[in-house]
């Protein structure tokens, strides 16, 4: 009989705990659902704002507006076909002073300049 009473007590305690737990979960889920709704709303607002900004951006970016501003403020002329050139007309790149695997390119450049200088310079320490 004692065992049955114990069992009953345990079951009652479990029931209370379960009820409390369910309440907590329910409360949290309501909270989460509200957050979701709020975030959805925020996302919609943000999207609307992005759309408005994009519309404004393309209004400002509109070529006829840019052309108007450029004509008013810049003394640039339209590009001529003669101003274009192909890459193979580009002269050869001058030989590198610095080897590409040098760890400190500036130091290597100074070194190579020093090597070009007449002998007799003092190498080494900085004061």
């Amino acid at each position: 009989m004692n065992l049955v009473r114990m069992l009953n007590l345990v079951v009652v305690a479990a029931l209370v705990l379960a009820a409390a737990y369910v309440y907590k979960i329910k409360f949290e889920s309501t909270l989460q659902a509200e957050r979701v709704a709020k975030l959805r709303n925020e996302i919609r607002h943000e999207r609307d704002k992005i759309a408005a900004l994009r519309a404004e951006w393309s209004q400002l970016d509109n070529p006829s507006r840019i052309q108007g501003i450029a004509e008013r403020h810049l003394s640039l002329k339209s590009v001529e076909a003669t101003q274009f050139d192909t890459l193979d007309h580009l002269p050869e790149r001058p030989p590198d002073r610095v080897s590409p695997d040098a760890s400190d390119p500036i130091a290597a450049m100074i070194e190579s300049l020093r090597n070009d200088m007449p002998t007799g310079t003092v190498r080494g320490k900085t004061p």
Binding site: A33, A37, R44, R47, D48, A51, A52, R54, A55, E56, W57, S58, Q59, D61, N62, P63, S64, Q67, S78, V79, E80, A81, T82, F84, T86
Partner: protein
């Protein structure tokens, strides 16, 4: 308790014994019943919980506030580089519920509202507020500042609804392509109307299109090219005092329309006057006799048939008499002309004789194959059937060979000429972005590749020696053909009212783009002795447009190219 009773009766009885059974048994039975009932209840709850947890949140997604009821969203329209041509922004609209507003003083409300919204008509407002309707719009699309001010007035029976408002940040730049919407956000013209026709309207009716979650529509239009072309066209229209001007830039390999301009146009944000006849899209809705540019089609037909060679010649010594008609040449040479000469001198007589040599049914069949005799269907709902002679006799073939007597939509002619220069594939033009692979599936071969090479040669030769000299831009190897047609007024051709057009291939040795420039009734300028033929207006305008758009289209200028007979003709003969 006999065993003949059914099992459920026995079960209930075993659970609920009468007074005569002992208490312990009775208690046990009742407890059993309670356990069963509770177990059932908890099982139901458990199952329901699982269902709720597993099923998606469908109710919340479909739930829409009342203010979304009219907010029909449309997909954004972008140009080929992703620049916005049309987009939705949210805007508030002001409405009244006059039945409820009757309690307040209508005159006071009118006074207060017109103070905030000066463009409201006070009489109309008074009528609307005084009516017995449940709902009346007062003003659509007000600014946020106005909304705050009206809200502060605290008028009862007046409220705001959030609506999607369509905005066109580029104004009239691409108006004839993009089209416009009415105040209820339904497409009325252009791509906007096409969007509705291709399923968006059904979405709206079903109530699914209220949020901006729709895939944007990417057009083939390049906004930068579109602007440059429009800018030059407006300048040309002013310079030559033309009624209208139009131009189209077509990618000859994909059929994409990179730019389509027809001025005068309209502002899609304020499309009043868009339906005015002078503002129609001249390239798809208008049909015109295209003049000498049609000679390109005649030449291609003759060369493709094999009956005429590039070295053949035709008699153009005297005007061609046909019934009571006499066909003259504009630049009469009065001698026997070879095929390239017919093209460069734009000889009507030569073209007519060439078409007659091929035959009337063949001529008709060729134009049919090139899509010149049927209505051109593109995404744009604005279109017009070509005007084809009902009885097609020899005289019709004679006149149509040089572009008179058959009226087509200019975009249609562009499609045909593009097929002549791109290697011989007819590709239906489109306003949506299209990949070369897609275009390959859509194209049909209409002429041989060798004929196409000959056509490119003729076009380039014309820019080196013939009437298209004015349109040649050094460095871009332009080829082209002029066209001048007299307009028909009351059934007669009028010499002073011309339609001039110019077809240019860019570049002629390996075409990538075809450009058509068209001027409607240009006036002659004194420096051209008052002449208003194509070579003096449409030609130079094309040159200006090419000089501006070629860098945008990524065409490298080349200056050391040999003339057409060495570059195009020689290589065409080699490959044969």
């Amino acid at each position: 308790m006999s065993p003949a009773q059914p099992w459920h009766r026995r079960m209930v009885q075993s659970l609920l014994y009468g007074y005569h059974v002992d208490r312990e048994k009775k208690a046990k039975a009742r407890l059993g019943l309670a356990i069963t009932v509770f177990a059932l209840i908890y099982a139901t709850i458990a199952v329901r919980l699982v269902i709720l947890a597993v099923a998606p949140d469908s109710h919340a997604a479909r739930r829409m506030g009342p203010q979304d009821a009219v907010a029909t969203a449309r997909p954004d329209i972008l140009d080929r580089n992703g620049d916005v041509l049309a987009t939705d922004i949210k805007a508030s609209s002001l409405f009244a519920e006059p039945q409820r507003a009757r309690v307040i003083d209508v005159d006071e409300a009118v006074e207060l509202l017109t103070a905030v919204l000066p463009d409201l008509d006070s009489n109309e407002l008074r009528d609307r507020l005084g009516s017995k309707r449940r709902f009346a719009w007062l003003k659509r699309e007000i600014t946020p500042e106005q909304q705050v001010e009206i809200h502060r007035l605290g008028l009862p029976g007046i409220g705001f609804l959030t609506e999607n408002r369509r905005v066109y940040p580029d104004g009239p730049e691409a108006s004839h392509v993009v089209g416009y919407v009415n105040v209820d956000n339904q497409g009325s013209a252009g791509i906007e109307k096409w969007l509705d026709e291709s399923g968006l309207a059904d979405l709206h009716r079903a109530g699914f299109a209220s949020d901006r979650q729709q895939k944007p529509v990417q057009l083939s239009i390049d906004l930068r090219v579109q602007h440059a072309v429009r800018n030059e066209l407006i300048a040309a229209r002013d310079k030559f005092k033309a009624d209208g001007a139009a131009a189209v830039v077509l990618d000859v390999h994909t059929g994409e329309v990179v730019s389509l301009v027809s001025v005068p146009d309209y502002d899609p944000s304020n499309p009043r006057g868009a339906l005015d006849f002078s503002r129609i899209n001249r390239l798809t809705k208008g049909v015109y006799e295209m003049g000498s540019t049609f000679k390109a089609l005649t030449m291609a037909m003759a060369l493709d048939s094999g009956k005429v060679k590039i070295s053949s010649s035709f008699d153009a010594r005297a005007p061609l008499h046909y019934g009571r008609f006499t066909i003259h040449d504009f630049h009469a040479q009065n001698r026997v002309l070879t095929v390239p000469e017919i093209f460069t001198y734009s000889s009507n007589i030569g073209a007519a004789r060439m078409a007659l040599a091929i035959g009337v049914p063949e001529h008709r069949a060729f134009l049919k194959k090139l899509g010149q005799l049927d209505r051109l269907h593109t995404e744009l709902p604005e279109g017009h059937d070509p005007i084809v002679p009902a009885q097609w006799g020899e005289l019709n073939t004679v006149t149509i060979s040089f572009g008179h007597g058959l009226s087509v939509a200019p975009l249609q002619a562009v499609m045909g000429v593009a097929a002549l220069v791109n290697g011989g594939i007819l590709i239906p033009p489109t306003f949506l972005k299209r990949s070369p692979q897609e275009a390959q599936g859509l194209g049909t071969r209409v002429i041989k590749p060798e004929t196409s090479a000959m056509m490119r040669y003729l076009m380039r030769l014309n820019a080196e020696k013939g009437s298209a000299k004015q349109a040649d831009v050094p460095g871009y190897y332009v080829g082209g053909k002029t066209g001048t047609a007299e307009k028909v007024i009351n059934g007669h051709y009028v010499k002073t009212r011309l339609l001039t057009d110019f077809m240019a291939v860019l570049p002629a040795d390996d075409p990538r783009y075809l450009i058509l420039v068209m001027l409607d009734e240009p006036q002659g300028l004194p420096e051209n002795n008052g002449s208003a033929v194509s070579a003096y207006n449409a030609g130079p305008t094309t040159a200006k447009i090419i000089a501006r758009i070629a860098p945008l289209l990524g065409i490298t200028p080349r200056f050391e190219l040999p003339p057409a007979d060495r570059l195009i003709l020689a290589s065409a003969k080699e490959t044969r």
